[in-house]
């Protein structure tokens, strides 16, 4: 009778509530939507002012995830390794003020501050992104790539990588971007209903 599935577990798998809850360290100022999915058995830490939209997936099955202050993770995006990592370092560190747009699949080891990860982009395993990087919509960053600060990814290979000189040289441009992000968070905080207590348990 070992092949017979356990009745309660089959019923559970169809519902949203995962069987294993990750250990969550969520800052009191952060907003985590009720319908966000936080999965896995490792630790997920979310810093202040960060907003996790409904239907965003943080998958800590294979390593810890930490998200810095003031980041936005949109719906349908997936942060977390999909399979067992090849080396020891299986943690994902996302910096502050990072915007992860909908449908992005992020498996990077490190994402620097103020990065923008566009719609439906893919960032592979072990990738290290510097500060102020932009990955455009539908673009892919291959496994193990290391991108310096201010890089913009808009295509494939080296032809599709360029350094954004304007953002690098002009402090005021960065300041405007930062303020825009801040306003966006301000609006979203009033809209996305927070239920971090569900995860803190």
């Amino acid at each position: 009778m070992t092949t017979k599935p356990d009745p309660p577990s089959t019923r559970q798998s169809s519902t949203v509530v995962p069987l294993v809850k990750p250990t969550c360290k969520i800052h009191p100022n952060a907003t985590v939507a009720d319908k966000a999915h936080l999965l896995g058995s490792h630790t997920i830490s979310i810093d202040s002012n960060t907003i996790i939209h409904p239907q965003a997936r943080l998958n800590a099955s294979h390593g810890n995830i930490s998200i810095g202050a003031g980041s936005i993770v949109a719906e349908k995006s997936v942060v977390g390794l999909s399979s067992e990592p090849d080396d020891e370092d299986s943690n994902i560190t996302i910096g502050s003020d990072v915007s992860i747009e909908s449908g992005a699949v992020i498996q990077a080891r490190k994402v620097g501050d103020n990065c923008t990860l566009g719609t439906n982009c893919k960032v592979g395993k072990g990738v290290v992104l510097g500060k102020w990087c932009t990955v455009a919509a539908l673009c892919e960053v291959g496994e193990g790539e290391v991108l310096e600060d201010y890089t913009v990814v808009f295509g494939e290979g080296r032809k599709g990588r360029r350094v954004d000189g304007v953002v690098r040289e002009r402090r005021e441009v960065r300041e405007v971007r930062r303020r825009g992000m801040e306003m966006e968070r301000e609006v979203l905080r009033g809209i996305v209903v927070d239920s971090k207590m569900k995860w803190m348990g």
Binding site: K4, E75, N120
Partner: protein, 207 residues
């Protein structure tokens, strides 16, 4: 060895789509937020896995005393016989307006076909538009009547796609015109439809 026959038999009772009084077909597996801010024109199909963000709308300003609170605003309004395919994300765009960040209400016209896995963040989409799969419509772009967006296109923020054009590429460029007779010839047979034409036969065939 007898196996419990429960799990398969139990589900078959439910239909995939919920049909409203006006003929809208909404999948049970769609992810819809903020239902009260979404308007569907009738005979519109929302397929499985579609993310509809109706909660992202302009928050009514704090009402002055004595004034009545306005009825809730619409975030997404979709016309008649529009088909939204699987795993598409529809999220109203955000912009700076009078010094404040606000969400812009999104309007999608009639007989619009939106392919699977698309991302729609445009300000408005007119009628008889065909959007291919995996297309990304960046915030605040405007798609005019009868145009076609090829698969895997990224329409940059704020771009206006003129009426009757074909756009494609990353970023999107105008590649040509749809030509005469586009969208015509459908609806002769039952379950027959063409891009940019009347989508009612298609909507009818979806069960």
């Amino acid at each position: 060895m007898s196996r419990p026959a429960g799990s398969t038999a139990r589900r078959s009772v439910k239909t995939e789509y919920i049909e409203t009084d006006t003929g809208n077909k909404i999948s049970r597996r769609a992810f819809i937020e903020g239902k009260q801010n979404i308007m569907l024109g009738g005979k519109t199909v929302i397929m499985a896995g579609v993310h509809l963000r109706g909660d992202l709308c302009r928050k009514p300003e704090r009402v002055a005393e004595g004034e009545k609170e306005k009825p809730n605003t619409t975030a997404v309004s979709i016309g008649r016989a529009t088909v939204v395919s699987t795993n598409t994300v529809i999220r109203p765009p955000m912009r700076l307006h009078k010094g404040q960040m606000t969400f812009i209400p999104m309007r999608i016209g009639d007989n619009v076909f939106i392919g699977p896995n698309a991302h729609i963040s445009s300000a408005s989409i007119s009628s008889h538009v065909y959007i291919g799969e995996n297309a990304v419509l960046s915030p605040l772009c405007i798609v005019k009547e009868g145009s076609k967006i090829l698969p895997n296109t990224v329409v940059p923020p704020g771009m206006t796609v003129p009426a009757g054009t074909v756009v494609g590429g990353r970023p999107a460029r105008i590649l040509g015109e749809v030509g005469d007779g586009w969208g015509q010839g459908g609806g002769v047979e039952v379950e027959d439809w063409v891009e940019g034409g009347d989508l009612r036969p298609l909507v009818r065939s979806i069960k």
